[in-house]
């Protein structure tokens, strides 16, 4: 089974929502990750056949289905909101897509409903109506509805976004196992980079209606090809600092380090620093060093997020292990190992470190 989007454009109210999207998805799961207005939902709707693209083609298994109505396609869709039929029980909700499928006889439907309900942990709730369920159970029902019928294309649009984090993590693990041996195309959209990273499935990064990059999520995290990909896959958000190239060195807010690759002098660059790479103690020699003012310290259970202001103008967030006390208004010195700095040129493309010196940035 394959799903191909070929040069898909969607324009609404004078804005381009999808800009020449080209994708080729095969069996099993693919993650679609992008920020809020990247066009994920629009792409899913086009892939499902809920709204036609302004131009371009959608192909399922080599067949052009662009103009075929969603009613005649073999798709299932799970929404961020919990969408179930309010007047039907959980059982009937799960059974509803099967009743319209000529491939299922009555006893087959019953077996399949119970099977899927068991899988999603709904076996004890089959007689209830959606209004009598918790949010997590409602979404489980919606997912069960989508899973019940084997479909060519299963689309999940941020299905876990409205759940509390414990349920989210549990369902995420369940879903990953469930989609592992799917015979159809499963496209899972999320705005949460951690979700994309934990699924470890082929990942499409979408930004501003364009496919930014396709590849392995962990690989893209470690060696992001562009600033957009790096920003999309970073949670907590990437710190961005302005820099200038001078004679093979990069100067940034008074600190400097060798440029990763020859780059013309005078060009401006953007430095990307992950919060957990910022230290308050000098590490090795050659570390970048910025005196800073402490603005705010957010303490979570196991870590401290320290918000710093460099030179009264640039914000830098440090993710420090452990809980630590800081006084807002005080001063500190931030250190960053230049090997962990991502350097992007004016167009947002990353300047890779020279030759074999490419450091493993996972750390």
């Amino acid at each position: 089974m394959t799903l191909i989007l070929d040069g898909v454009f969607v324009r609404r109210r004078g804005e381009t929502w999808l800009d020449d999207v080209r994708l080729e998805l095969s069996n099993g799961m693919t993650t679609l990750v992008g920020p809020m207005t990247a066009g994920k939902t629009t792409l899913m709707r086009v892939a499902a056949g809920l709204s036609p693209p302004d131009s371009g083609r959608v192909m399922v298994d080599g067949k052009d289905v662009t103009s075929i109505s969603v009613r005649k396609r073999s798709v299932a869709f799970v929404y961020q909101q919990f969408i179930n039929y309010p007047s039907l029980t959980v059982y009937e909700n799960i059974a509803s897509p099967l009743r319209l499928d000529p491939g299922f006889r009555r006893d087959g439907i019953d077996r399949r409903v119970r099977e899927v309900a068991e899988l999603m942990g709904l076996a004890a709730l089959l007689g209830r109506r959606p209004a009598e369920l918790s949010g997590g159970q409602q979404q489980r029902t919606a997912i069960a509805r989508a899973l019940a019928r084997p479909v060519d294309v299963l689309l999940l649009d941020e299905p876990l976004a409205n759940l509390d984090f414990k349920l989210r993590e549990q369902l995420r693990a369940d879903l990953k196992a469930m989609f592992a041996d799917s015979s159809g195309v499963v496209l899972y959209a999320t705005a949460d980079p951690n979700e994309a990273l934990t699924f470890a499935a082929p990942t499409v990064v979408l930004g501003e209606g364009r496919v930014q990059h396709i590849g392995d999520a962990a690989e893209m995290y470690a060696r992001p090809p562009t600033l957009a990909v790096a920003a999309t896959l970073s949670d907590p958000p990437l710190n961005l600092l302005p820099g200038v190239v001078r004679d093979g060195r990069i100067e940034c807010l008074g600190a400097e380090f060798p440029a990763p690759r020859a780059h013309p002098s005078g060009r401006t660059v953007t430095l990307g620093v992950r919060p957990h790479q910022v230290r308050l103690e000098r590490g090795g020699p050659g570390a970048l060093e910025w005196p800073a003012e402490i603005r705010l310290a957010e303490v979570t259970g196991s870590a401290t997020f320290l918000h710093l202001l460099l030179r009264d103008q640039v914000h830098l967030v440090a993710h420090l292990p452990g809980t630590r006390q800081f006084t807002p208004g005080g001063s500190a010195v931030a250190y960053v190992d230049p090997a962990h700095v991502l350097v992007f040129d004016e167009d947002g493309a990353r300047l890779p470190a020279t030759g074999a010196a490419e450091v493993d940035l996972h750390g």
């Binding site: 929404y79 909101q81 969408i83 039929y85 309010p86 509803s96 897509p97 319209l100």
Partner: protein, 297 residues
């Protein structure tokens, strides 16, 4: 622990009663506009009034005579039948109209204005419009119906024709209210529900039955209550169109009541009549409301 536990209890004892002063204006205005006038009706219903200074206490005699009056009884059955027909016609029609109205685009406002138009016309004007419209000689409606072969339509002579005229007039006048309420209910359904139905290839009927109808329960409860109360107390329009006739064909409870109270000036029986009328509407509304809200759970 005991300290914490005792504190709210002590607080409850020293209750602050000043908030009652805020309720006072409402109590006073309701007393002046509703309770005191109602009490004068109660007063009339248990007395035989000859002149303002000459009155006799008669107990429940008026209640007894009103409930045994054949004219009142037939008007009661007539009004109940009318309300039942109004509900049976207007609720499904209103819902159907709401489902057919556009969900978005420029036509939304056009449809809303068109549908709401009958609601904006004063009741006695509605009566006048239909009095003329339904006439066979100068009314377009009556003229058109009379040109259907085999139909002889005259609402001033024929009881059935008069009944149909009043019923159609009420449907024309009040279906839009049901439609607007239902439309508001339908608009509150998120788009993904309809998409989910599309993906399931659900039929239009299944979409209506399992997505739209469940969402309409609340507004339909209100629509049924409003339309029942209004139609059970209908007065102005039939008074203008038929005056209760021909004979007693469209003589509803309210028309009969005003005849007794204003026409014959029988204040005692009219008072008893009003109280029973009022009580019946209250009880039936309570029953409707209870049944409709309970069945949802």
């Amino acid at each position: 622990m005991t300290e914490v536990g005792e504190e709210p209890r002590a607080d409850l004892k020293r209750r602050n009663n000043r908030a009652w002063w805020l309720v006072l204006p409402v109590v006073v205005s309701v007393a002046f506009t509703a309770v005191i006038p109602l009490m004068t009706v109660v007063n009339f219903s248990v007395q035989d009034v000859f002149t303002p200074s000459d009155r006799i206490f008669v107990g429940l005699e008026w209640f007894r005579s009103i409930t045994r009056d054949p004219e009142v009884r037939s008007a009661f059955v007539r009004t109940l039948l009318f309300s039942a027909q109004v509900l049976l016609l207007e609720i499904p029609l209103g819902v159907a109209l709401a489902v057919c109205m556009p969900r978005r685009g420029v036509w939304v406002s056009v449809a809303l204005v068109l549908v709401a138009l009958p609601l904006l016309i004063p009741w006695n004007v509605v009566g006048t419009i239909w009095q003329i419209f339904a006439r066979g000689d100068i009314g377009l409606g009556g003229w058109a119906v009379n040109h259907v072969p085999g139909v002889d339509f005259n609402y001033t002579l024929d009881s059935t024709d008069a009944w149909i005229t009043v019923l159609v007039m009420d449907v024309w006048h009040w279906t839009p209210l049901v439609a607007l309420l239902a439309y508001a209910g339908l608009r509150s359904i998120p788009e993904p529900y309809f998409q989910a139905a599309q993906i399931d290839a659900a039929s239009a009927w299944a979409t209506f039955r399992h997505i739209q109808l469940p969402r309409l329960r609340g507004v339909l409860t209100i629509a049924i209550l409003l339309r029942f109360m209004d139609s059970f107390m209908i007065y102005t329009e039939p008074f203008v169109v038929t005056g209760g006739g021909p004979g007693n064909a469209t003589s509803f409870l309210s028309i009969l009541l005003s005849k007794i109270a204003v026409g014959q000036f029988d204040l005692g029986p009219a008072g008893a009549f009003s109280l029973l009328y009022f009580l019946f509407v209250q009880i039936l509304c309570y029953v409707f409301f209870t049944v409709l809200t309970r069945s949802g759970r």
